[in-house]
Subunit: 338 residues, 2 copies
């Protein structure tokens, strides 16, 4: 068993040159002869040399690692964002460390500590539902490490952001339902303290007003938007004397829960009640009836978040104004609303 680590010193010894020369040869320094470079590369391969990231990152003060925090990876939106983000960052010589908060504030704090401790060169994050206190995000900023938020952001933090226009998305959904003849549109939303969910609620309310529909507080529900939440809140809506004729759910998972309850209650979707979800998860097209939803441009968000980070790293701090990239969402109409 080959226990001993091979270092540049070993390569240097074989060739009778200094470790410094080896290091420079590896980095294609112009002051090293072609002959030496070739020899170094050959010996490195022979000895199965693997550079030690810890040492070079320590010396250079740069790890070429980017930390990513998502509420969960088990969602098509987030995993697609990550995939596209990674592609851009890899090309620029960065590797990513993915962490999940599981929507927990505590876990998110721990993840940030881990990432800072690991000396990442930047953090790209989407906030957990639970998160209200922003001090741990401030900590990232105070260390001068670039922070990019996507999807679940927060205006107060004053950092770069990439996401879709949630306020307008609600308008698009309400307009669509009104067009289909709906008069009592309920909204199963997220908690108002999360900016994106607050924006969806505001958009929903304003769109109702714009269409001269009354605002009924019993039709506006805040929840964590899990599948179970969707079930429970749908049951609540069905128990109302004056039932809604459409439900706009701010997450596909909760929409799925709602659909289950509707199907179980033998309520015809879309004839009796129309349903719209949010996020365009793959399963929305697979269940019956298929669920109308909002596509969030996950690929673009991933790419843009990565590019924003690279821009931030390239520029000498402070000079650059804030990047706020807001994409327009797209309604994917399916059976549950037409």
């Amino acid at each position: 068993m080959n226990k001993k680590r091979i270092t540049i010193k070993d390569i240097a010894n074989v060739l009778n040159i200094s470790p410094a020369a080896v290091s420079k040869a590896m980095h294609d320094d112009s002051r090293i002869s072609t002959k030496t470079k070739e020899a170094v590369r050959r010996v490195a391969k022979e000895l199965n040399y693997q550079p030690n990231h810890l040492a070079s990152a320590l010396r250079k003060g740069k790890s070429n690692l980017v930390g990513v925090i998502v509420p969960r990876t088990n969602s098509n939106f987030f995993s697609s964002v990550i995939e596209n983000m990674e592609a851009v960052l890899n090309k620029a010589g960065y590797n990513i460390i993915i962490t999940q908060s599981n929507e927990s504030f505590d876990k998110e704090c721990k993840n940030i500590d881990t990432l800072l401790y690991t000396q990442v060169d930047g953090i790209i994050a989407s906030m957990a539902n639970e998160t209200v206190d922003l001090s741990h995000y401030e900590k990232i900023k105070s260390k001068g490490i670039p922070l990019i938020l996507f999807d679940r952001g927060e205006n107060d933090l004053n950092v770069d952001y990439v996401g879709i226009n949630d306020y307008d998305s609600s308008h698009i959904i309400v307009e669509h339902l009104v067009e289909k003849g709906c008069k009592r549109i309920a909204h199963i939303g997220g908690y108002r303290r999360t900016r994106i969910f607050n924006n969806r609620i505001r958009g929903y309310v304003d769109a109702l007003k714009k269409n001269k529909l009354p605002i009924d507080d019993s039709l506006i529900i805040e929840s964590s938007l899990t599948l179970e939440d969707g079930r429970r809140e749908m049951e609540r809506l069905l128990s109302l004397d004056n039932k809604p004729d459409a439900v706009y759910v701010a997450s596909d998972y909760a929409a799925l829960g709602a659909l289950q309850v509707l199907n179980e209650s033998k309520i015809n979707v879309p004839k009796e009640i129309k349903l719209v979800g949010f996020g365009n998860e793959p399963f929305t097209s697979l269940v019956s009836p298929s669920i109308t939803s909002i596509a969030q441009h996950s690929k673009d968000i991933g790419r843009l978040a990565a590019e924003t980070f690279l821009k931030r790293i390239a520029q000498p701090e402070l000079k650059q104004s804030l990047n706020k990239i807001i994409l327009e969402a797209q309604l994917i109409v399916r059976d549950s609303s037409s």
Copy 2:
């Protein structure tokens, strides 16, 4: 802006002690007075000190980082495995770096290089479908870094493994379908070169034999098991003169594709054709009809893989024999087969 990094040297200067004393105080060394320890902790907090992982990992020759490679995170099975793995490892002082291979061999090689370069203390992986050449996995072994495989393993590698009993799972499924009166059971499986899929195919064939059913090669299909593959292969099966009366699909995603085709073709599931999937993804219970599937104990697999790694790290190499943990799968019967 506080650009300068705070190091133990800064703390040492404030207190007029040596950096070594600070380091020891931080680690609660018995040879440091309580008074000094308290002072160090206080100053560390005041200066907002963050230990530099690169430096300590370099010196200690241990990064307390575990690399994880999965084909994709966008699957309930893998994300559940990761979540439980992380819980165990965090408790033991390790953090994890998640990487996805996207089922690509090249990406998997790159991920391994990145992880080795990052000096992880171990790697826990599930192989990409494409992977046949195992030399990059041998590289991990040759460096003496613990490697644990789960779900998608490979016998030839001779490393620790955690997974379910795929061979037996096929038996359970076939027995179930035979019990329901099926006589012509088709199998849409993965490629034989991947061990788990080979085992499922072998199990399927042996179970048919055991039940005195004929083996029909036109009913055994190999594919990548994506949703699209499921659709295409189901269409092929339906075009046969002698159609099957049951289909056992080795992945829920492909099973879903098959179900879509069956629904579109107005074939009654389960009356005309029964369907069984594999993996117990959440959507299996959500589609209609709901899909019978095999639960893979993702939580246990995650936990056990982590524990196996910890055991491996704790023991002085070689001494320990191989850990092969094979869990018994569980059939979750739903509407598509009863």
